[in-house]
């Protein structure tokens, strides 16, 4: 029998999505005493439960040795899902490309990220005032700073106080010392006049409370930490929120739409389908908080159509789905001949880089707007599928220990010796930059296609502009400058105009934001400066959707700070009986 099952209670708040934004809202609201329904489209996940642990596994514990042909970042990556999910398609308009990464599980995409935790700077909120492009945020750095401070203390981040322009310092735990290749990077940076400073990652190098352990330096944050020593929304926010007793977690709740009252236009709850049992449900709530990810939240709003909200909920402005933008990305690898024949020791360190390059140049002197930061990789990491691949392009170029040149390729014990000699002598660099938000880059509801649950899917339209393409070109020039200063040999060839200078396809950097943007004017924005819908005061969006512009930083720390700020606003508005 087809029937819709209704939860008997009316929750104070229903939160859709358990990633950074949803986890933070659940934590803050539950702590304040609200009865919260937390809806997650995927299954339960706890990094400390052996059922889920991949941390400290060896490559041979995967039959494909950790290759990435099934999970996009390899068998051991914590994130379930990826750019393609069976039965959950999305489409494209006019032959454009946008790749949409989704992670259906508790904690969402915080199960896959580099823990890079950068604050936006004062300029990042006021870009239009600086270069005339895009729009200013309705808030400034000073509005967000107190929340960044609280996020630093609640979640923990290491780094160093540098006093740099537009790279605000935080409340930092001590950073790990640079690895060998990172010391070389620092030297090279001095030569090339490119700053290299300790990275800022949400990993506990010192204990901050009794619930979470401290980093044991296995370099595997991407596998989720069983000691809860890095930030994942599951371990740091959702599970503690559930422990308050105020949160009802509903897993496998694939939301269809936000339900609204026909007379007031306000949200009354959420309808969802159980993705395993395929049963239909509704949850009633006084406030609905969307945190399903920038694209998924806009999909939900656009699918929440009614006589009162004919363009979809919170969309009288028509901007929902618009201004979609991901970070730019380009990368290059290099070989460092002077690091051949390295002494072996454990240099796993924390998950990811110990140093990075924040944006350092003045756009007035460049042919593109907005900046980028550079992330670095390298060292004697754990081998996985692909190890040693392409050695035939390398081992003919460098003399053997005995000082003789040998023929490239080969086999046998001399080849075996080559694998040992070249191990740990590679370095990688990846630029991550700011795109200029564009009304014509968007996602909308495809009129013809539904997913396996019958929910209309998103159709993307996205094109990089010259701004982003020129930025990628500049990234590659910088990479070569750095490689030269390092005394390294760049791998492969420098990408040219034919490939947009190696600019990654939109969606590949998984920083997409902007689809439910905030602003003071209800005609040009969906949310007000507290992430509250202009059109329905009990609807909030606390994921990257609310961003006016994505900076040259990673978005997570700002999602967390803005979700905390919105939660505090919700609590105050309820107290004042405004919602």
């Amino acid at each position: 029998m087809f029937q819709i099952k209704e939860q008997p209670t009316v929750f104070d708040v229903a939160i859709i999505g358990s990633g950074a934004g949803g986890g933070m809202a659940a934590y803050q609201l539950a702590k304040a005493g609200a009865k919260v329904a937390l809806l997650e489209a995927g299954g339960y996940f706890d990094p400390a439960d052996p059922k889920y642990i991949t941390q400290l596994k060896w490559p041979y514990e995967s039959p494909r040795r950790g290759a990435s042909n099934h999970r996009p970042f390899g068998d051991f990556d914590a994130a379930w899902g990826g750019w393609e999910i069976e039965g959950e398609p999305y489409t494209h308009k006019n032959g454009t490309q946008f790749d949409w990464f989704r992670s259906r599980m508790l904690g969402g995409r915080t199960n896959h990220w580099g823990r890079i935790s950068l604050r936006f700077g004062p300029k990042d909120f006021k870009r239009k005032s600086i270069d005339g492009l895009g729009d200013d945020w309705p808030i400034s750095y000073d509005d967000v700073k107190p929340y960044y401070d609280q996020v630093d203390k609640l979640i923990g981040v290491f780094g160093t106080v540098e006093g740099l322009d537009n790279e605000p310092d935080g409340i930092f735990l001590p950073p790990p010392k640079p690895r060998l290749h990172e010391l070389f990077l620092k030297q090279a940076g001095k030569k090339a006049n490119i700053p290299i400073i300790p990275s800022r990652l949400s990993i506990l190098t010192k204990p901050i409370n009794d619930q979470r352990g401290v980093c044991f330096y296995c370099s595997q944050c991407s596998r989720a930490c069983q000691a809860y020593a890095d930030f994942s929304s599951s371990s740091v926010l959702c599970i503690p929120a559930i422990k308050t007793g105020n949160v009802t977690l509903i897993n496998n709740a694939m939301c269809r739409e936000v339900l609204t009252d026909p007379s007031t236009g306000l949200a009354t709850g959420v309808s969802y389908i159980d993705r395993e049992k395929l049963t239909e449900h509704t949850v009633k709530a006084k406030v609905v908080v969307l945190a399903a990810s920038a694209a998924e939240s806009s999909r939900l709003l656009l699918n929440s159509k009614s006589a009162r909200h004919q363009n979809g909920l919170a969309n009288s402005s028509g901007v929902v789905g618009r201004y979609l933008h991901d970070s730019t990305g380009a990368s290059r690898g290099a070989f460092l001949p002077h690091l051949m024949d390295r002494k072996r020791y454990n240099e796993d360190g924390v998950g990811g880089m110990h140093v990075y390059t924040p944006w350092w140049l003045d756009n007035k002197k460049l042919d593109f707007p907005r900046g980028y930061h550079i992330e670095y990789g390298g060292g004697m990491g754990m081998p996985s599928y692909g190890f040693g691949s392409g050695i035939e392009n390398l081992n003919g170029k460098y003399p053997t220990k005995a000082g003789v040149m040998k023929e490239a390729g080969g086999y046998g014990s001399s080849l075996k010796e080559d694998y040992r000699r070249f191990y740990g002598a590679n370095i990688g660099m990846a630029g991550r930059g700011e795109a200029v938000p564009d009304f014509n880059n968007y996602c909308e509801i495809d009129p013809n296609v539904v997913d396996k649950f019958g929910i209309p899917v998103l159709r993307f339209h996205y094109k990089w502009s010259d701004y982003e393409i020129k930025q990628a070109k500049h990234m590659h020039d910088t990479f070569e400058e750095m490689i030269h200063a390092l005394g390294g040999v760049a791998n492969g060839t420098k990408p040219g105009a034919d490939t947009n200078y190696g600019l990654a396809a939109p969606g590949r950097i998984i920083h997409e934001v902007g689809t439910v943007r905030m602003g003071d004017d209800p005609k040009t924005s969906a949310l007000n400066k507290f992430s509250q819908a202009h059109d329905a005061k009990n609807v909030f969006v606390v994921d990257g959707g609310s961003f006016v512009s994505q900076a040259d930083k990673n978005p997570t720390w700002t999602i967390l700070a803005l979700s905390m700020r919105a939660s505090e606003y919700i609590i105050n508005q309820v107290k004042q009986k405004n919602i």
């Binding site: 640079p178 044991f216 330096y217 020791y345 796993d348 599928y385 080849l415």
Partner: protein, 211 residues
């Protein structure tokens, strides 16, 4: 559902022959069970989702490479990575089994690998009148030397070079991700520890310091 229960529902409902005599039903069940031995219950390894565990088990059960092809692969991987003073050979580290799995998991390898093995076999028959595994070690190496060095190989052998590059890369993947290969490489991590920076002697070796 357990196999026995599914059989029950099969005979009673799906086939719609509720009137089968018990002896016939029993014989049919025996027949089915000899054809398909009762499935061992699926074990989901830690860190895998159920769907992934089902898929991995299914791939493991499939067959792609033949016994003869696997025998040639064993010879090749041990030419590429033989035992030496430091570690055992590729086949001893399980590389043949790894390649057997990975070509099923990554179908893009199937035709290049199968075709490459065939190329090798034909080359051996043309030169020596017998297949590659039956050739002497010296004869095998004579062919390998023609395809193992991309820059000096003759154009006529270019397909063999491409095949050998692929074999070299798959062998390295399999070997250096095995317990034996990781020990050979001297990778020291994947264990709880405290990172206190680059060891003093290494800093000295490169003329570096933290100050």
């Amino acid at each position: 559902m357990k196999r026995r229960d599914s059989l029950k529902s099969l005979t009673l409902s799906s086939l719609g022959i509720a009137a089968l005599s018990p002896q016939v039903a029993l014989a049919e069940q025996r027949d089915l069970e000899t054809q398909n031995p009762p499935e061992t219950p699926l074990k989901i390894p830690g860190g895998r989702t159920k769907e992934e565990a089902i898929r991995d088990a299914k791939i493991a059960k499939e067959k792609f490479l033949t016994v003869a092809e696997l025998a040639t692969i064993k010879v090749l991987v041990d030419i590429i990575i033989p035992a030496d003073a430091t570690s055992a050979s590729a086949s001893q580290a399980g590389v043949v089994e790894f390649i057997d799995f990975i070509v099923k998991d990554m179908p893009q390898h199937q035709t290049p690998l199968r075709g490459g093995l065939r190329w090798l076999e034909k080359e051996s028959i043309t030169r020596f009148g017998k297949g590659f595994t039956l050739a002497t070690k010296a004869q095998q190496i004579q062919i390998i030397d023609d395809i193992a060095y991309p820059q000096k190989a003759k154009p006529i052998h270019s397909q063999g070079v491409a095949f050998f590059n692929m074999m070299r890369n798959l062998t390295a993947s399999g070997f250096y991700t095995s317990k034996i290969g990781i020990a050979d490489l001297g990778y020291k991590g994947n264990t709880p520890n405290v990172w206190e920076g680059v060891p003093e002697d290494v800093l000295k070796q490169y003329g570096l310091s933290y100050d």
